[in-house]
Symmetry: C2
Subunit: 384 residues, 2 copies
């Protein structure tokens, strides 16, 4: 196997002189073989961790998506959906495209215009719309809702003859369980509920069309592997993002033969009467932690968390703590205390992030522990 | 030497049952010797790093300062002064009170009322005021300015017979080079400038009084070591905090025999015509880094930094980067890129923090490197 050249975008001038040069092996597992003899060369971001993809850089600039920004407008009412969507897409891609062999490229096949057309309703002027025609109804149960809410493409590249070539595609399709709409401009917002069965059926139909169209796209060959992952959008008032419920991995051809189910879901701690987490033990752990933390200062701290579950198994937790601090020494002591309390009370064996904010919303300190680690990394944000 | 019991505040219930028990040796160098035979016991925060002090916890609660919050009101116009002040006090204390033998306690000797009296002007009703009497003048050059702007006490404890005893005190005194005042309530703000010589002279007089009064304070013995550290407040419009310019270390008695000069100062990058950093090489490094970073995305990134110097030697840097992101993958790629670019372009051998924010001010990722490290720790703030 040819190894892939590692070039810092930051070192473009060097690169132009020396062709494809390896500047930093310590942080990179993708090594250079295309010595300075090749004049083509390409650049990647480098990577800070082996578990992350390097990203494609062109002429010292990051190669942004051809549909850049479309995701934000698609998720403008709940940006948490976008983070969950993109994070999940990358995680899923890692199961098929190894971070040591593949380089990540922001989607270059589908343009903003294409994605926007696909997300629109089917009509005479938009024959490619994946959503149903407007039937003129405005009643929640009679109108045709928007099923397909967002689409994002990710490209995965491999080196062939000193150049990066497309070696895998991942497309995420975000599906609505609730479609929000107005009967008149600036009017009240109404909701059409979509059943899970309907969402899945509509999603599979949309995925079939997306696969077919992708195969016909210039640059995509008949045997470029394509992952299509189906995401259920969280509602606009959700404090966590949505989650992926199934995916298909098509190594060649334009037909989807099977779907693999995914059982991920995000929850909020503390749980409420309408939303309880799948595992009572985790809730007990979190409540103990919260109680200890809230007891620490005379002024009460707000303690909440986002968590991801696979079935009943906790996968990770982001804890948010907000309290009023009166000095840097209080922040430092609180952070040290949290490192101990989190270790004692929060579940082990999963990645945990803890972000500590002052009452003005400024991040004051931060703790993180990886799944396989014992102690928390701590950092207090200082100032000179 | 008796070793000190380590107890997590978080595990109070255990402590009450078992007396003084060691729960976690991995994160602690202060060890337990006072076995379960002693019924007194005390609690500390535990510590995440050996270079930090543990803090005193009482009944599961952090023991906050008796003058809690006074620092914030003293620095309400530039809170950067407060962070610089407290951070510097702790750093200076470490040179005399080792983090492995001493435990940090928020000041318990001086109350809010005492500190506020001392910071006031001397008058019939406030004979202890460290600032001069009001002479009735309102002209900037004729009035008596406020020289002493803030005072903070830190206590350093050692174990004696299973209990924590006061073993060292650090007092910081913040002095003005500019005194801001109003001639009438809600009126315009005027400024009295204070020369460096005058600030030093007034500071030393105030320090002498503070030392004398501390020695007479209940709980302080004739031979409790006392550090008094003098801090020059930064002006209200400064983008960095002030800095310590001298200190004295009085091991016993109520007389200050000598002062040790400190040559620390904080600067902002990029430097401007009115404020240039002491070392041109650092400026060149920063500008190269900035240029690379700004080239990375099509949308321009804001890149600034705070830095601390000792004379002409850079001691540390906090870099702030703000840019608009359109996806989580952009944030991840940008962060990886920064880890490489910072390693290539920014000065080595000093601690560097880099905080990356979106245009809405939300922290999106964070990188840090300790003085002796080669690579940056990176963290992207995710969401479930």
């Amino acid at each position: 196997m040819k190894k892939i050249g590692v070039i810092l975008g930051a070192a473009l001038s060097l690169v132009l002189l020396a062709g494809c040069a390896k500047l930093d092996s310590a942080t990179s597992t993708v090594k250079n073989a295309a010595k300075s003899s090749t004049s083509s060369g390409y650049q990647v971001t480098g990577k800070a961790e082996d578990s992350e993809y390097q990203g494609v850089v062109e002429d010292g600039k990051y190669l942004t998506s051809k549909a850049r920004g479309v995701g934000i407008s698609q998720n403008s009412d709940n940006l948490l959906n976008l983070k969950s969507f993109e994070s999940g897409l990358t995680q899923l891609s890692k199961t098929k495209y190894s971070t040591s062999k593949y380089v990540f490229r922001e989607g270059q096949l589908l343009s903003s215009a294409t994605v926007e057309d696909w997300l629109g309703r089917k009509s005479k002027s938009n024959p490619n719309g994946l959503n149903p025609v407007n039937n003129g109804q405005t009643d929640a149960d009679k109108r045709n809702p928007i099923y397909v809410q967002q689409i994002e493409e990710q490209d995965y590249m491999k080196e062939v003859d000193g150049k990066l070539q497309l070696a895998g595609i991942t497309v995420g399709i975000g599906m609505n369980r609730k479609d929000y709409y107005q009967k008149e401009q600036y009017g009240a917002t109404y909701t059409t509920d979509i059943s899970k069965e309907k969402m899945i059926a509509e999603g599979q139909q949309a995925a079939a069309k997306v696969l077919e169209r992708l195969r016909k796209t210039s640059g995509v060959s008949a045997d470029t592997p394509i992952i299509i992952a189906m995401f259920q959008q969280a509602s606009d008032d959700s404090l966590v993002g949505g989650s992926f419920y199934q995916y298909t991995y098509v190594t060649s051809g334009a037909t989807i033969n099977d779907w693999t189910s995914l059982d991920y879901r995000s929850y909020v701690f503390p749980s409420t009467s309408v939303s309880s987490v799948p595992n009572d033990n985790d809730e007990t752990s979190f409540e103990s932690f919260k109680k200890q933390v809230q007891n620490f200062f005379p002024n009460l701290a707000g303690v909440t968390a986002q968590a991801e579950y696979k079935g009943k198994a906790l996968q990770g937790m982001n804890v948010n703590i907000t309290t009023q601090f009166y000095s840097l020494t209080e922040i430092t002591s609180f952070t040290q205390y949290l490192a101990q309390a989190a270790k004692t009370y929060l579940p082990s064996g999963i990645p945990i992030d803890i972000t500590v904010k002052g009452t003005d919303g400024t991040v004051q300190s931060f703790l993180a522990r990886k799944a396989n680690a014992t102690n928390f990394y701590t950092h207090v944000f200082g100032s000179y």
